[in-house]
Amino acid sequence: MLKVIGAVLIIIASTGIGRLFACKLQQRQICLSQLQQGLLALEREVGFAATPLPQALNQAALAAGHGSVVFTAAADLLVNGEGLSAAEAFTQSIAENQLAISSTDRQILADLSSGLGLSDCDDQLKKIELIRLRLQSAESEAKEQYASWGKIWKNIGWSVGAVLVLMFI
């Protein structure tokens, strides 16, 4: 009886670990998609209403789901009156906040920070759009990665568990 319970627990744990890895891949894809939504909202605020960055970043955060933390933290740093530039605030915010994205994705976001807020409206819009398109391509890559590796991780999880059970029996 104990053996059966142990075997079930091993299979559940290994399946869970496999699913966790698959889930990480899926979360990256979702986070990238939500960050793009945030940047779209930022584009709208800058382009249509010329909203100052702290308020525009807070609006972007509303659309950015799990990625909202980057936008709100940058907005908070800007309004606390320490004279940080938007670039410094955004870079600090990316560094300090955990997101389910890769280091390459972080670098794309960091590229947004350079010159943020320091030029005219057209230039700002071009810059944000460029970053959004780069995130879009990163999302496509994450989607492909999940399609191929997501299933593999899930299957590896339970099959490794099954192998371990067979070895112990």
Partner: protein, 318 residues
């Protein structure tokens, strides 16, 4: 909120600590903080000027003054613009930024031209933080002179060089008229192009203008006067710092529509006004029945003289 609390967030952090030793009385008298790149930071008070000492507080010696470096200037611009230069394109074109509380940051730098018109400023070299203050009842002594013998309000132009208290007086006149201090309350329409009269923020005036003021914020004067005239049925229209031909045309239109106008303009005397084509037109059209000349001789808002539409002195000030 005190003036210090309103203005300090726009000053670079390194400079804020140097302003901390200023006493409430000094803050009360402070009119301008001038930040010039690589030059001593100075403060202008009602009747004197002093520098911000590099050890904090005020000093009369420029050698002991704090010199504003490039980083501080950049920080100041970031704080003034909330790191959003794109949101201030129009303000940079005009050369000033209006801050919450009606304060104004005047800017100097290198002008970028497009088709002969200033498109924006870059390489900002000087920021002048001009502090606005509401002084209630400052117009009470002047107000009776703005009415004719039948107690009808006369269209009035307040004339003075900069820093003589035009906007403060204009704001109080608006408040007194809207409150009905001398006559029955009047419906007042204010075109606040630079957000200095009412200091609107989020649709709410941060300065007391009474209960009968309609405020058109950030709108060009010529357009705003017509908009208010058509939509809000004002009895009095108020606007600050007129100067263009379009302003003059709108004021004449308003005057001919049976609405009284109280406005202000830059000049040291009525004769100077008459030499400027825009005001010559206004004077010729008798758009104003009262011209009030102000100066700083005995402090801001000193009335030097009150004139009628023919520039005849009605009352000497002083």
């Amino acid at each position: 909120m005190s003036v210090a609390m309103q203005i300090l967030p726009y000053i670079p952090p390194s400079l804020r600590s140097l302003l901390t030793p200023l006493t409430p009385v000094e803050w009360q008298g402070l009119e301008e903080i001038r930040l010039n790149l690589n030059l001593p930071v100075s403060c202008r008070f009602h009747d004197n000027e002093a520098f911000i000492a590099s050890v904090g507080g005020l000093t009369d010696e420029s050698r002991q003054a704090h010199i504003l470096d490039k980083k501080e200037m950049e920080q100041c611009l970031l704080l003034l613009s909330q790191s959003s230069f794109y949101a201030l394109e129009e303000e940079l074109r005009r050369g000033y930024i209006t801050l919450p509380g009606g304060h104004r940051a005047g800017l100097c730098g290198r002008a970028v031209l497009t088709a002969g018109q200033v498109r924006t400023l870059k390489e900002i070299s000087a920021v002048n933080l001009r502090l606005a203050r509401q002084v209630n009842d400052v117009s009470l002594s002047l107000l009776p002179a703005l009415f004719d013998k039948y107690y009808n309000l006369c269209s009035t132009l307040l004339v003075s060089p900069p820093r003589a208290g035009k906007t403060t007086l204009l704001r109080d006149i608006a408040r007194q008229l809207a409150c009905g201090r001398l006559t029955e309350p009047l419906r007042v329409g204010i075109v606040d192009e630079r957000s200095e009269i009412a200091a609107m923020r989020g649709g709410i005036s941060q300065l007391d203008l009474g209960i009968r003021c309609d405020i058109l914020d950030g709108c060009p004067k010529a357009e705003g006067l017509m908009m208010l005239l058509r939509s809000m049925s004002p009895q009095v229209l108020i606007c600050d710092e007129i100067g263009s031909e379009a302003d003059a045309a709108a004021l004449i239109e308003a005057a001919n529509a049976g609405v009284k106008v109280v406005a202000s303009a830059h000049a040291a005397a009525c004769e100077e006004l008459a030499d400027r084509p825009v005001f010559a037109t206004l004077l010729q059209a008798q758009a104003f029945q009262r011209l009030v000349v102000l100066s700083r001789r005995c402090g801001p808002g000193t009335v030097e003289g009150i004139y009628d539409q023919n520039l005849q002195l009605l009352a000497a000030g002083g």
